[in-house]
């Protein structure tokens, strides 16, 4: 999981010591997350949990926070997304990478929100969280790459305050699988999700991708998402859903039939 992390700043603090210090804290925060969650590091909490040498109770408190997110995501995705994997021999292991990336970047970005009169866009491996506070600065312009045409962007998404995440397999090989089948989904090229937090944009992009041909209909059921699904045949499906309105949610009970 190598990935470049890029920070763009505009406004009051861009090149001064305050900006430099903010960058250092962002990097420290990401490194700390890596030390705890990386499945590539033998000494990470996750690796130790998988070896059975560390209990969940003794692990860093953020491990439980991430596991709670993973459980929520597993329910929301109907099981297509899960941080717990069961291999062919029936051994259960923890791989929270699908939750950690967005969560870690959201967490690192909290330091950037403390910069006065400064806009930021923090990107990690093509997923980003953006904020705009400078009057008249306009939203950040996020280009969406077209997985089928090397010279084109699919479009431009203006993001004032929010997050964008894209899931696909071409860049990193077939590493995404439907947790229900253990196999990579078919028919789908990429999913981009825009919502308020990168934690959920990332989870939903991954979960939708895992749904394969069902990605669009699954996204329709998610609250406050704007999404673009690019299919293997080059067609696209755009999805925009309203914020969750608890008052408008249909009642859980079944109305009695009229007599």
């Amino acid at each position: 999981m190598g990935m470049p992390v890029t920070l763009a700043l505009r406004g009051r603090h861009t090149t001064d010591a305050v900006a430099d210090q903010a960058w250092v804290t962002v990097v420290d925060s990401l490194r700390q997350a890596d030390r705890i969650f990386s499945t590539y590091r033998d000494d990470s909490d996750v690796s130790r949990i998988n070896r059975g040498t560390l209990s969940l109770d003794d692990a860093s408190p953020v491990v439980r926070e991430v596991l709670a997110l993973g459980a929520e995501a597993a329910v929301a995705s109907g099981g297509a997304f899960d941080v717990w994997r069961i291999d062919a021999e029936g051994v259960t292991s923890l791989d929270p990478s699908g939750v950690v990336k967005g969560w870690a970047v959201d967490r690192a970005a909290t330091r950037l929100r403390e910069l006065d009169d400064t806009d930021f866009c923090l990107s990690a491996g093509g997923d980003m969280v953006c904020r705009t506070v400078v009057p008249g600065a306009g939203p950040w312009r996020i280009g969406l790459e077209n997985p089928h045409d090397s010279t084109q962007l699919l479009g431009l998404v203006p993001i004032a305050d929010g997050a964008v995440a894209t899931s696909g397999t071409l860049h990193r090989g077939q590493h995404l699988v439907d947790a229900r089948t253990g196999r990579p989904p078919s028919g789908i090229a990429s999913v981009t999700v825009v919502t308020s937090s990168l934690t959920w944009a990332d989870i939903d992009a991954t979960a939708a991708y895992a749904h394969g041909m069902g990605a669009g209909s699954w996204l329709e059921g998610r609250p406050d998402r704007t999404a673009l699904v690019v299919w293997q045949d080059g067609t696209t499906t755009a999805v925009r859903t309203p914020p969750e309105d608890r008052a408008a949610r249909p009642p859980k009970y079944v109305l009695p039939r009229p007599r």
Binding site: P4, L9, L153
Partner: protein, 147 residues
């Protein structure tokens, strides 16, 4: 009228900082690189682009950087303190899969570098693999250019 003012304000100094984040092959050796402003004094005119091939810029070549797919090297051409061209002289093309990956990762990354200083596109959502090597080599080229 209002839109123009907003657009001008949106092009004030942008600083881009790059961070190489290795976990799989490099173990704990994560590196961080601070870059000076890339888009410092971008022109307020979006129509008079000076990316033409006739301008006499200076070319700076970044280090060849290994990725899991092979080496990547980035060269930038700087004219009057502004990046006017980005090329990728070295990239992995050893097999069909690499070619497939690079065929669309590199042109988009190149586009991103040029467009970000115009203020047209701030970031690209999507690319991940070769962009690691691209970012490292681009950083080297930027350092050489003193940008």
């Amino acid at each position: 009228m209002k839109r123009i003012v907003l657009w001008l304000l949106s092009t004030v100094t942008t600083v881009v900082l790059l961070f190489g984040y290795h976990t799989s092959t490099a173990g704990p050796a994560a590196t961080s690189v601070l870059a000076p402003p890339v888009a410092g004094s971008s022109s307020s005119s979006s129509t008079s682009s000076d990316t033409g091939s006739t301008t006499s810029g200076t070319t700076y070549t970044g280090p060849s950087t290994d990725t899991q797919w092979g080496p990547v090297q980035v060269a930038i051409t700087v004219t009057n303190g502004k990046i006017t061209d980005v090329t990728v002289p070295v990239y992995p093309n050893g097999n069909g899969r690499d070619a497939e990956i690079n065929a669309y990762a590199l042109p988009i990354l190149t586009k991103a570098t040029l467009e970000s200083q115009d203020g047209t596109v701030d970031m690209i959502s999507g690319a991940t693999v070769t962009s690691q090597g691209y970012a490292t080599s681009l950083q080297g080229a930027l350092d050489k250019a003193g940008l």
